[in-house]
Symmetry: C2
Subunit: 226 residues, 2 copies
DNA sequence: TCAAAAGTGTTGTGTGTACACCCATGT
DNA sequence: ACATGGGTGTACACACAACACTTTTGA
């Protein structure tokens, strides 16, 4: 572009924000941090931060994820880029939003140095958020609800071993409706992507459930899935 | 984030690049421009440019689209944000890619002031592209091929009146396979989203085809579509 | 009258959905 | 023995896929 028009351009700051989804107490939750500094000091917000020099955007997202949860190597996908001129009162800030899917028991939540607190909120009743983070969160929710229908990425919310009832619950929680147990199992097992372990879930006063695990960690596009 | 570490951050430039899809001669094509200035002077590239001050990203994409094709108000969707540190030899440039779906006859192609030429290339045999634009184009192609399966957005490639054979060709071109005429028509019409016009396509030495048009310009999520 | 594409139905197969009872365990 | 969730099969409806011939026009 023409060098003599540089006044018309600007150098925005670029941030990365992350929606960290997990399942706890049969609810879909996301990690929020309480902001230590202005703007929106004391308000809850999505974890995130500025892109560093020579840092790839995806790596920045991984870094932020790790700073808040101590996790590496989970499912992390670019969601959308938000760049309305007024979305940050400090000036022009373009943010690239990512979302992560994390098994609850892998998370070690800690407030990073830009936050005074960090905790999981149920999507249904989370507080008022800083910036346009509510919009971003809603879009992430929309995306994951679509994605559940044609990929198996949401299996990333489960731990290595799980029962069929557990995986069904994940679908019910995200999909937001009850599923018939027999039909669910029939279809799920027919994909041929699970193998049953020898262990069972004992200690409950009921018939023990078989554990299953994934044959592969690859993500698969499914024709349609519920 | 900490103010005393500003050296570690940087202010990237932010650009918008657009993949403008259209159909011409029974082929899926995209608009490329020949770069007037370094880097990659003389090379073909996706149309795009820097984000202006106080300009929303989506508006920037619309502006770029309009500068190259004279079009407004067509389907335009954010694709992905590419931000590898070395993707632009001039320095750190993060680009937000959009794709547009445009009926061929609405386009008035003109080289904007950053280009010496602009023309449509068939996706199948397009030239070597500047920057990481080949990767971006490939991703756009992937996206549109998926999208065809569960939305009707690709109807945006058609003009207001069209025959059923024309819309079927769009599907065949993007989907990359032949479709049975009877099954296609049955399913398409069963959606209830088309109305038949009174006019027919005459002047060819064959039976005249009925024209159809869309009942609505809204985009619809379909369960699955071929 | 001929070439070229438009238009039109039926049948078999597979997939989704609805639905109810017995089983294994811990207390 | 009983409460609790685990585990299993069948029947119907619907959607998809395969398939060929007649019609209308312009030259």
């Amino acid at each position: 572009m023409a060098k003599n028009k540089t006044l018309k351009f600007e150098n925005p700051k670029v941030t990365v924000d992350i929606i960290i989804f997990t399942i706890e107490d049969n609810k879909l939750k996301t990690l929020l941090i309480k902001r230590k500094s202005p703007p929106f000091k004391g308000k809850w917000a999505l974890p995130g931060g500025f892109l560093k020099k020579d840092e790839d955007i995806y790596n920045a997202a991984q870094r932020e994820l790790n700073e808040e949860t101590g996790i590496k190597g989970v499912y992390l996908e670019q969601l959308y880029t938000f760049g309305e001129p007024k979305r940050d009162p400090r000036g022009r800030v373009v943010t690239v939003a990512y979302f992560a899917l994390v098994p609850r028991e892998l998370m070690k939540i800690k407030a990073a140095d830009d936050a005074t607190d960090a905790k999981l909120f149920s999507i249904a009743d989370s507080p008022v958020l800083a910036f346009d983070h509510r919009k971003i969160l809603n879009y992430a929710l929309y995306r994951i609800r679509n994605k559940i229908q044609y990929t198996n990425v949401i299996w990333s919310l489960l731990s290595k071993k799980f029962t069929l009832t557990e995986i069904q619950k994940v679908y019910e929680i995200i999909w937001g409706r009850r599923i018939d147990k027999r039909n669910f199992r029939k279809k799920l097992l027919s994909l041929g992507l699970l193998k049953s372990a020898k262990e069972t879930l004992t200690g409950l006063r009921q018939r023990p459930a078989k554990f299953y695990s994934f044959k592969t960690t690859k993500y698969v596009e499914l024709k349609r899935f519920f």
